[in-house]
């Protein structure tokens, strides 16, 4: 084996041993982060809620989809509160109170989000109007 290849093997082994820069804590995930609630109905309710909550550190993912440590802690928080008897609406409200509507993927109707809800209706109406007008023109 020549010098070059043995050197690259040593480098490869060193790279395997190298620990990636830790951005995560060394505590294990919270109990309910990856464990389902024993009661299937409650787990289903928690699951539905988790799919509509934004992971705060990944932002493009729901906490149900994210592998981030903070998403795990949020799943644990949701499951703990559902187990303790809160409804998913109450848990969502608790989080919105702290992080604003941003944390929810189910935006409520407000002056800011109104265009989001109304634009499809307006566009649909506009399309219908244009369609009926152009059909009338053809008949002539």
């Amino acid at each position: 084996m020549n010098m070059q290849s043995s050197r690259s093997i040593v480098l490869a082994i060193l790279l395997l041993l190298a620990a990636p820069a830790a951005a995560d804590s060394n505590l294990p995930p919270a109990r309910y982060a990856n464990m389902q609630i024993a009661d299937p109905a409650k787990e289903a309710e928690a699951r539905r809620l988790m799919e509509t909550l934004r992971c705060l550190v990944c932002q493009g993912q729901s906490i149900a989809d994210s592998d981030a440590e903070m998403a795990g802690d949020m799943r644990a928080l949701v499951r703990q509160r559902i187990v303790a008897g809160e409804t998913s609406g109450e848990v969502r409200q608790w989080l919105i109170q702290r992080y604003g509507d941003y944390v929810s993927y189910d935006p409520p109707l407000s002056p800011v989000t109104a265009p989001l809800w109304l634009a499809p209706l307006i566009l649909l109406g506009l399309g219908g109007l244009i369609a009926t007008r152009s059909f009338k023109r053809k008949r002539r």
Binding site: A21, A22, A23, D24, S25, N26, L27, A30, L56, V57, Q59, E69, M70, D73, M74, A76, L77, L95, I96, Q97, R98, Y99, G100, Y102, V103
Partner: protein
């Protein structure tokens, strides 16, 4: 042109391009701010994690004196950068308490020995529950709690040398 309406789609197209270009050049601020500013500090009681340093409870705030609540962790790199600035704030007379997110005693003790210890109290938050209660979305973050126990200011990310004046002013103005 007999039918000026024909130009509407073209204009709409250029308007869309303009909107997209401006959003590309100045991306929106994606920081998640706490909605708890102006609200009373949520109730919590965290156990101690470092020997000789008491734990932290919401009852420790609102005693007439404003305090800085620092959300940090020994495993967080920007917290190392922030440590000397916190020492500077402590030297300037700002009382500082810490909430240690997902931390272990030995790791935290080593962190404090290495980077300095500006904290009067440190509470252990192993499942980030107090972090969520505060509306904090990362480490480090700092909250100014006024003398009545209300959250009056949030600083997201590590406090840099340039931010010291703002923090001191926020604490001074928070009786």
């Amino acid at each position: 042109m007999k039918r000026p309406l024909l130009w509407v789609p073209v204009l709409a197209f250029f308007a869309l391009i303009a909107v997209l270009a401006s959003e590309l050049l100045s991306p929106a601020d994606r920081t998640v701010r706490s909605a708890m500013i102006g609200q009373p500090l949520p109730e919590f009681a965290l156990t101690a994690i470092v020997p000789g340093k008491p734990g932290l409870a919401s009852a420790d705030f609102g005693k007439g004196q404003p305090r800085l609540l620092n959300v940090f962790a020994s495993w967080c790199a920007p917290c190392i950068a922030e440590a000397p600035i916190l020492m500077q704030l402590k030297a300037a007379g700002v009382p500082i308490d810490g909430v240690a997110i997902r931390d272990t005693g030995p790791a935290l003790q080593a962190f404090l020995a290495r980077n300095g210890d500006p904290f009067d109290r440190i509470g252990s938050d192993p499942d980030s529950s107090v972090q969520f209660a505060l509306g904090s979305s990362g480490v480090p973050e700092s909250f100014v709690i006024d003398g009545q126990g209300r959250i009056v200011h949030q600083h997201i990310g590590d406090i840099k040398a340039d931010d010291v004046a703002v923090i001191i002013a926020a604490v001074k103005g928070a009786q």
